[in-house]
Subunit: 146 residues, 2 copies
């Protein structure tokens, strides 16, 4: 009784644990660490970090969640669904950049073709084969800087 349950919507069907983890992230205004997610889900039967990490691995694979490397934390993908650069299943995109407010914790996700292109050009020139690109800007958001 552990298999994914298909849903009326798009995207890959999520298992129960995956849904729980995604929902927690999706409802959060700020990035969450795996252990914070774990604590939020104790009431739903979560007891060990691996339950969270395994769900996160899948959600990352599906592109539904991003990992913020500079925070060791995770956010739900903020893409307005079926954006540009799609790979077909509604959650694909090129490299995404994040602006992280160090005061309020809010994260803005955005994409810039030109940045992508410049980094791609560098890679091509150096014969480097990119697998995953991380772009994170930490600072103060408009509201907090004021």
């Amino acid at each position: 009784m552990n298999a994914p349950v298909s849903t009326p919507t798009s995207a890959p069907a999520l298992t129960k644990n995956q849904s729980l983890v995604f929902d927690v992230l999706d409802r959060s205004d700020a990035p969450m660490s795996a252990y914070t997610i774990l604590d939020r889900l104790r009431d739903h039967g979560f007891r060990a970090p691996l339950q969270v990490y395994r769900a996160l691995d899948k959600l990352l694979e599906f592109g539904m969640v991003h990992r913020l490397e500079s925070l060791n934390a995770f956010v739900a993908c903020a893409h307005p669904e079926s954006e540009c650069c799609g790979k077909g299943h509604g959650h694909g995109h090129g490299t995404v950049a994040f602006a992280i407010c160090e005061s309020c914790g809010h994260v803005s996700e955005f994409h810039d073709h030109e940045v992508d292109h410049r980094l791609g050009a560098w890679a091509k020139a150096k014969n480097f084969k990119p697998a995953k690109t991380t772009i994170e800007i930490r600072g103060l958001c408009g509201a907090c800087a004021a």
Copy 2:
């Protein structure tokens, strides 16, 4: 007997611990974790992580070392000394990007004005005040991809 010792060269004078940590990093072909650095320096009297982290904090502040967020590891700055975008003391620069080979561990450090500019433009438009920007490309270097 703990104060920085001035050297014949440029830049801020380093303390003994800072020099030791920097030398280890500078001699390494690949990024090193704080704990790996610690192990390398046991023979020089290092016994606790804090000794490493404190030295790293200063070296980061001086711009002589970079932290790779996606690796939780550190590298000596590869800038050919007194590069562009200098802030005056020979180790200043704009945002730097890293290409990290997941096979051999080699890290290439580079800078792209246009990328800087695009990210800066986004920030300006959103009224976001950047403090620190991280750009890391993980993949395979030319040698390993072949």
